[in-house]
């Protein structure tokens, strides 16, 4: 987790001066996805089917564009992987958390987080994860992942997180 966050920060710095923020975010995410899909040789071994496995090798979160709740292509890739994993390991309940960045009002962002969580849930259900295993909760802008007031932080905070229990 923390390693990935650091990588993210480095990536942001790397691309910051070269490309538009949105493009940078796309690259960054695909880089993360690649890392997760093909763990480097030095990565700590995690038990297949564990929560750590899900987070490291599948990716537990997807990101959204500003004020949007539609799933981007990179999010679909991650969620397809999530669905495969969740179907294989049927012993987990999933709470999908919807989050927003701080650039909206509190009440509206609660609704927006709810809409994002629902979009993730519906995608997973459509991919064959039983609906009974999935719950949603919105945290609006109340639980940012990255503390910062810049595009990089905001793009990391507009997220849907599949939390396993």
């Amino acid at each position: 987790m923390s390693g990935r966050t650091n990588g993210t920060r480095k990536d942001i710095k790397m691309f910051k001066f070269k490309m538009l923020a949105a493009v940078a975010a796309m690259f960054m995410l695909s880089a993360c996805a690649d890392q997760a899909a093909v763990p480097a040789g030095g990565a700590t071994a995690v038990a297949p089917g564990s929560i750590a496995d899900f987070r490291q090798n599948v990716g537990d979160r997807v990101f959204f564009d500003t004020d949007q709740s539609s799933l981007r292509p990179d999010a679909r890739t991650t969620l397809t992987r999530q669905a495969e994993w969740l179907k294989r390991y049927g012993n987990y309940q999933i709470t999908v958390e919807g989050h927003a960045d701080e650039r909206g009002t509190r009440e509206y962002n609660l609704a927006l987080g709810d809409r994002r969580a629902t979009a993730v849930r519906q995608f997973l259900v459509a991919q064959g994860v039983p609906a009974a295993r999935l719950k949603t909760i919105s945290y609006g802008k109340e639980r940012p992942e990255v503390v910062g007031s810049d595009d990089g932080s905001w793009s990391r905070n507009r997220r849907g997180v599949s939390a396993l229990q």
Binding site: D67, S69, E102, R103, G104, T105, R106, E107, Y108, L110, A111, L112, D114, R115, A117, T118, A119, Q122, T136, I137, S138, Y139, E142, R143, P144, E145, V146, V147, G148, S149, S153
Partner: protein
């Protein structure tokens, strides 16, 4: 469940004092009035002497009145050091020329006397320009209630000078914030309008957000995280007893009382779609108010209860809409550049306050209920969530500084008059957001 009215009985006596007739001067009040709706008024210079007759309480009451009036932006309080007459007798006629000499237009004197049941507090406001008493009040109450006495007197002075009702004898509920930004503890807190008597209504175990007062001040509604999805709770502020308001499968949020206190409008979410519902507080019956394929939230009733203004993104971006309070006849009223949110109808009915997001900045503004006459009062990196003082002439909202280097930016409450001229920070013990200003406390 003791109501403040039974605990706190006032004996209000009009102080028609001989002094008025001694000075048989024409009732001119040129200097001791102010028209706060004019953009270029001058604050009224006023001197407030420590109240006589009690060691500590008299001085404290005077200080509260000074703070209240100074903070309103409509008065310039003469520094106590310049108040030349100490321990003036509240029943004697002051030497008006002396007060004019130090630049005062008004003088407030008063005294505290012990009674078998508590204390009796009198005050007078002298118009030293014309040499007449402008107003006065006498209250009998329990000794512990002296702060409220000071607020009630402040309201009387404010009303006499501005012609508007005061707002000092009120409370503010807000969200107290502590801890790092990604693990913030958010609790509902309640305090007097000036920051005194701060206490917490929720324990901080789950996030608690968006407190709103019932018109009697006996209850608040807010959104809280406990088991399952976050929901709207109703809580008694005296007993702290709380209950779920309605039992819906999904999230319920953005509650607000109707002006008569019998209903609460709020958002319910179903399958990612948020719509407005109205809930009868006692009978718990409910009805749906909106049905659009978008987010409908932040409902606020008009002062007469016949209409509701709310926030919706049904047209692609967040805008403000007005409809009948039973639902239907929805009409968009905001058409400026940017996104509009958190509309709140003034208790006077003449304005709707809102948060506006445009050009990467947030702003607090007001418009007429038909959407015309939009005017921005405050702006910044993040300003949000206006709430009206009961006189409809002052707004409170919150301001957040940008987060920097992994550190959360400070969040604080601010008050501003509707000319936008005078903004000040409202002191709170912790970081604070989402204020809700109560109506005047029932006497």
């Amino acid at each position: 469940m003791p109501r403040p009215t039974s605990r706190f009985r006032f004996l209000v006596a009009a102080c028609a004092v001989a002094a008025t007739s001694v000075f048989g001067i024409a009732p001119a009040r040129a200097q001791l009035t102010i028209d706060m709706t004019r953009p270029n008024f001058e604050p009224v210079p006023i001197a407030i002497a420590d109240f006589a007759g009690s060691d500590r309480v008299g001085a404290e009451i005077a200080q509260i009145i000074r703070n209240n009036l100074q903070n309103s932006g409509l008065f310039r309080v003469i520094p106590p050091a310049a108040v030349i007459e100490k321990n003036v007798n509240a029943n004697a006629v002051p030497r008006h020329a002396d007060w004019r000499g130090i630049g005062a237009s008004g003088l407030v004197v008063g005294q505290v006397t012990a009674t078998p049941g508590g204390i009796k507090v009198d005050f007078r406001l002298w118009d030293v320009v014309v040499g007449q008493q402008a107003t006065g009040l006498s209250l009998n109450t329990q000794s512990a209630q002296w702060r409220r006495v000071a607020h009630i007197f402040s309201d009387a002075i404010y009303k006499r000078v501005t012609g508007e009702e005061g707002y000092f004898d009120t409370r503010v509920a807000y969200v107290s914030e502590t801890g790092p930004l990604n693990r913030r503890v958010k609790r509902i807190a309640l305090m007097d309008q000036d920051g005194a008597n701060n206490r917490y209504l929720t324990d901080g175990a789950g996030l608690a957000l968006t407190p709103r007062f019932s018109p009697t001040l006996q209850e608040i509604v807010y959104m809280g995280y406990a088991e399952g999805p976050p929901r709207v709770y109703l809580q008694n502020v005296e007993s702290n007893r709380r209950e779920l308001l309605g039992n819906f499968p999904g999230m319920s949020f953005a509650p607000r009382f109707s002006p008569d206190g019998t209903k609460v409008a709020m958002s319910l979410s179903q399958d990612g779609n948020s719509s407005l519902y109205e809930m009868n507080v006692r009978g718990r019956s409910q009805r749906r108010l909106t049905n659009s394929p978008g987010i409908d939230t932040s409902p606020s009733y008009s002062a007469d209860g016949t209409q509701i203004v709310f926030n919706s993104d049904r047209g692609g971006t967040q805008q403000l809409y007005v409809m009948g309070s039973g639902g239907g006849g929805e009409k968009r009223i905001s058409f400026g550049d940017g996104r509009y949110a958190t509309p709140v109808w003034s208790p006077r009915g003449d304005f709707i306050a809102f948060t506006k997001i445009a050009g990467g900045q947030f702003g607090i503004g007001v418009m007429r209920p038909d959407g015309s006459g939009e005017r921005m009062l405050a702006s910044g990196f993040l300003v949000e969530g206006p709430t009206w003082a009961p006189n409809g002439r002052v707004l409170m909202f919150f301001r957040q500084q940008p987060n920097a280097a992994g550190r959360a930016g400070a969040v604080s409450l601010h008050a501003i008059d509707i000319t936008g001229r005078f903004e000040r920070q409202v002191p709170t013990p912790t970081d604070a957001s989402d204020p809700a200003w109560s109506p005047l406390i029932p006497q």
